[in-house]
Each structure stands twice: as structure tokens, then as C-alpha cells.
Symmetry: C2
Subunit: 312 residues, 2 copies
DNA sequence: TGCCCCGAATAATCCCACGTTATGAATGCC
DNA sequence: GGCATTCATAACGTGGGATTATTCGGGGCA
């Protein structure tokens, strides 16, 4: 009784109700006539009730058959609605993509991405939340977002790159240079590049926790222990603090696109140079969801050269 | 896309949405875990879209999966409604049986049948139309009725008995004696039985066409050609005509249950005696429909002894 | 951090449901 | 009474879908 009524049987009964003949139903459904006959017999056997009786040349539905035929319209239309919604999804006519990205991207990469998505796939809605990489990855793992745009410094332990975690996959987007901001009147501001090793005595202004970690690692690599006086994840504040002569700071290139460099500060490249990577992380397997694939493609198609980003 | 979404898949997605795990869904549906996993993979292959992604210990629905799960409630409830109606039908909790019977049965066998059906199966509705045997059989063949209660005289050409017609089946109910009514003052009214051969000069009153045919055949068998003066299919009229001394008539026994024998008439058996058979005819195969089977059983259980009917 | 348990994926295998073609029987039409 | 149409049956092949056994990955807990 449970599995007795399947969709195929319902479609068959419906077709018979419309055509009044098994052969006609078979033609309409694209099957051979014996296929329908046999299937009917099987279903009748499962149900314990005949659905059709021969009536002269053709066939006539019994009362149970008529009952099924009556319900068939409801059932098939409900199913058509489902497969219609599904078709919209695979055809990119609808869908929802939830994106998280780190703060600096909010005012640069993300708006351009949202615009590209709206232009290319108007039916797809994109939701966006701002989150630092660790939080963004956490939300991804919890299924709260579909795409997490993150950055990672080389050697970062929390970098999903090096963790062979099969549950998420990383797609590299850009390589972002890390530059140094220092007061315009600083002794090393004159050159094109600044050697970190020569900043053993500098007062440092640190950014977000990850950036601070990179600062420590970069200094350690050249045998220096930075003295960190100030700490803020606000890039504009960092630049202004530097401009006020309160210290030096490592800044990701993208920060410069969000805030003007104040008159009292200059930006230089470092030696040894360092980059961080910008990437988008997705749940394994979800790339095959059309809307997510479209979003991923849109992100990879973004050009960030005007912000100083290099494709990676 | 057409056959991609079947009921099983929908149930599976629904179960996964509820349990959050494939194993749980498998247990709930009574399958092994690999069965669900593989079925999902097949459906995803057909759809071209993943429905689930692994999420830590369990699994999470993708957006397409959620869409299916949303529609699943509608679809399965529509289907449950259908199988509920079907279950009512097989459980005799509902149903419709359409019956046709010949006029004399309308006031005898049919009321008793209707009462028996109402007592035994209150949920089944029975519709009834009165029709002479040929018309009743015609309605049966056209699918307008499910049961046709008919009578047949021996040798009747239109009797479905002798016609090896596979489209209908005949179930015998009773053997009904045919008696003769004659004026009380008739010369032959004195004896217990009346020899037809001695009625060569009688004025006959004929009944319905079939009865008239039987009259002719019965007389012919004894070498007599009846003179038919009057003709009516109204049994009461026939009896009163006889009572008025206007002629003699062959009458089926059941007619006497519908009309009192007037003082001026008497009823006798005939020699040679003749019977007609009362039977119910159904479309081949429809006996397996529960409501029709129940009606058929109720008819066969009817006792007609008080009307002078013998089981056959 | 390492161990252990639970759930998912894969592999190998089996079988019945369901499709096909070929053919026969019954019915309505000309 | 032939002819066309339709359903039923037979024989057969394929694959969907189930099973068990096993491996892999991830989370929870000491």
C-alpha cells in the first residue's frame, strides 16, 4: 500500500483516462503498448483492485481508477511546480548565494562582484555579510554562507590551503602585495623600498589579528622583534596614525583603495617583499550548484588590477 | 528532466531534510544507508545538480535540495490523499455501485438489496435505475451501470448465458416459476395445474416483449398458436384484466408479490411447467472491485423464498 | 593531541522491475 | 464476412536499485 502508487502508474492512469485506450496512452507516454498493459497489471496486483476493465474496443476506468485519475492532476501539477522551480535553479533564473568577505573587500571587490552578478544573472539574489577570515570560514563550515572571501598570509596556520581538509575547497583569486606606510619624514621614506631589518627600533601600528601575526612573522624572519604600540583594524585610522608620525605599519595594498594616504604618510614596498593571497572558499561539492558556480565564475572574472591586485 | 524526479527521490530528500543525516533517513525509510547514498548520486546525476553536501558528521541540503524538500510536503500529502481515497475504496468505506433491474424487481428484490447494502456497508452509495433486461444489458455494456439484474426465459436469444461473450459475466440468482392466471370461472380453473395444450381457443393477455416471446414459445411447444388480444407490461393491469374475464395470461411468480390477485382471477401452475431465471450481469473483471463484489455478494445472499423464488 | 565512534562513500554482487519485440484473440467497422 | 484496431500473452534482455562488506573522513572526548 505504501509503495504501491508511484508516479509512473499515476501518469499511466491519467493518460488512459484521457485517451480511453491503452495504446493511445502508450503512444502519448512514449512506450510500447504491452509496457502499459503489464504495468497496469502489476499495479493492480499490488493494489488488489482493478483499475481498468475492457470495454469493447478500448478500456474503461473502474472507480478506483477514476479516483486515481482525479488525484493525478493535483499530484502531477505539484510535481511540475517542483521541477519548474528546480529548472529555474539550474537555469540560473533563480537562486540565492550567500557571501561573506573580509572588511577591506567590502568596499572594493564585493561591490564590483555584486554588480557583475546582478548584470549577468538578475534572477539570482546575493546576500552579503562582512566577516574576518576565521569567522567567514566558520560560517562556511556551519552552512551559513556559500562563499567565503578570505585572505591568508604565507605560513598562516589557519589557512585552509595547507590543511588538507576535504570539506572545503579554496579557489585563489589574487595576490595582494603588502606595503609599508611610514611617516613622510621618516629616515627610510626616501628610498623606493624599505628594508624591514632596519626598523628594529620603530614603533609599530598593528592591524587585525591576522595582520598582526604577519607583522610578527615578517619581522622575525629578519631577526627583529617589533615594538607594537598601537593596534586597530581600521585601515583609515592606521594611515592617519602613521601620518601623525606615531609609528609605521604594514598594510595590505587593498587598504589603500579604501582610504586616501594622508599628506604626512608615504607608502613604500618592503624588502623582503611579502604578499598575501586573496581567495574564495566554498564547501566541497557546492561548486556544482549552478548559482554558486555562477558566483564563483563572476568572482574569478573580476579584474582587480586598478587596486594593485595581481591574478593568481 | 522529465523522469528525473520520482517519488522515491522526493521521499528521500524529505527524510534527509528531517533527519539531517543519510543514515537516519535510511532508517526512517527502511533502507540501508548505501541505498540512499547511491540513489542520491543517481538523482543528482540525472538532475545535474547536487542535492546534498557533506557537512561534518552529517549532510546538508543544497538549495536545490531544499526546494525539493519544500515541495515534498505538498506532493506527498496529495499522494497520501489519493491512497487514502483508494484505501477507503478497497476497505468498503466508500464507493458507488450503479444497479439496473427489471421493473418487477424494483418493488421486491431491489429494496431488500438496498437495505442489506446500507446495513452492511453504510459508506457505499448505491444508485438504481429500472430497465428491462435488454436495456439494462445495454447500459452495462456502455458502462452506465455496474450491475444489471435481468431475467431470461429458456431459449431466449438475447440471453447472455448462451452467448459466449467474454465482456460480461452472468451470475445466476433465482429460478422463478411462471404461472398462469385465468378467470375464476374458467373451465380449467378447477384443477391444480393447467395444460397449455388445452388453451388453443383462449384469449391471451401478453406482458412485456420478452414475456410475450415466451408465451409464443411455450404455446408453440405444445402445438398451439395463442390468440393475443391484449398487451400490457403492467402486471396489476394484467391480473385485473384476467379478473374481469377478458382473457388468460402467463405471469412470472414475482408479479404476484407486487399485486394482489383480484377476486375474479385464480393462479395455477402450468403443464408443461416453465421457469425463467433471474440473474445479475456484471462487466468482466469488475467483480474484483470491492464495492461491486460486495454488492454482488449482498445480492446472492438475498432470500427470495417468500416471493416464491428458488435459489439457482 | 591522539583515540574512538559514527556517518558517508565505494566496491562487488544480485535480482526483480520494467522495457522491448513477436504473436494471438477479441471487437467494431465497412 | 474481411479488415483494422486494440488488448493480452509469451519470451527475453537490460539496468535500476537493493544488499553486504569495507574504507575513509570528521567530531567528540579524555
Amino acid at each position: 500500500m505504501d509503495t504501491a502508487l508511484d508516479l509512473h502508474s499515476i501518469r499511466i492512469v491519467r493518460a488512459i483516462a484521457e485517451h480511453g485506450t491503452i495504446s493511445g496512452a502508450a503512444r502519448a507516454l512514449g512506450f510500447s503498448q504491452p509496457a502499459i498493459s503489464q504495468h497496469l497489471r502489476r499495479v493492480e496486483g499490488r493494489l488488489g483492485v482493478p483499475l481498468v476493465v475492457r470495454a469493447g474496443r478500448g478500456v474503461r476506468l473502474t472507480e478506483p481508477g477514476q479516483v486515481i485519475a482525479r488525484h493525478a492532476i493535483t499530484i502531477t501539477s505539484a510535481l511540475d511546480a517542483a521541477s519548474g522551480d528546480l529548472a529555474d535553479l539550474v537555469g540560473l533564473a533563480s537562486g540565492l548565494v550567500r557571501v561573506a568577505a573580509f572588511p577591506t573587500a567590502s568596499s572594493t571587490v564585493v561591490p564590483r562582484f555584486l554588480q557583475a552578478m546582478r548584470d549577468a544573472h538578475p534572477g539570482i539574489t546575493v546576500s552579503y555579510v562582512e566577516a574576518e577570515p576565521p569567522e567567514a570560514i566558520g560560517m562556511l563550515r556551519e552552512g551559513l554562507v556559500d562563499l567565503a572571501v578570505t585572505f591568508a598570509y604565507p605560513g598562516d596556520r589557519a589557512d585552509p590551503h595547507r590543511d588538507p581538509d576535504a570539506s572545503v575547497e579554496t579557489v585563489p583569486l589574487y595576490t595582494e602585495p603588502v606595503v609599508i606606510a611610514l611617516p613622510a619624514d621618516h629616515a627610510l621614506a626616501a628610498g623606493e623600498t624599505v628594508e624591514l631589518a632596519r626598523l628594529a627600533d620603530a614603533r609599530w601600528i598593528a592591524g587585525c589579528p591576522l595582520c598582526r601575526g604577519h607583522l610578527l612573522a615578517a619581522c622575525e624572519a629578519v631577526g627583529v622583534t617589533p615594538r607594537i604600540d598601537l593596534e586597530t583594524d581600521n585601515a583609515i585610522a592606521v594611515l592617519n596614525l602613521v601620518g601623525a608620525g606615531l609609528g609605521v605599519a604594514l598594510l595590505p595594498q587593498l587598504a589603500l583603495a579604501t582610504a586616501p594616504v594622508p599628506p604626512g604618510a608615504v607608502v613604500r614596498s618592503t624588502s623582503p617583499s611579502s604578499d598575501r593571497s586573496i581567495q574564495v572558499i566554498v564547501q566541497s561539492g557546492s561548486q556544482r550548484v549552478p548559482s554558486i558556480a555562477a558566483a564563483l565564475a563572476a568572482m574569478r572574472a573580476l579584474d582587480g588590477a586598478d587596486w594593485g591586485l595581481r591574478r593568481s
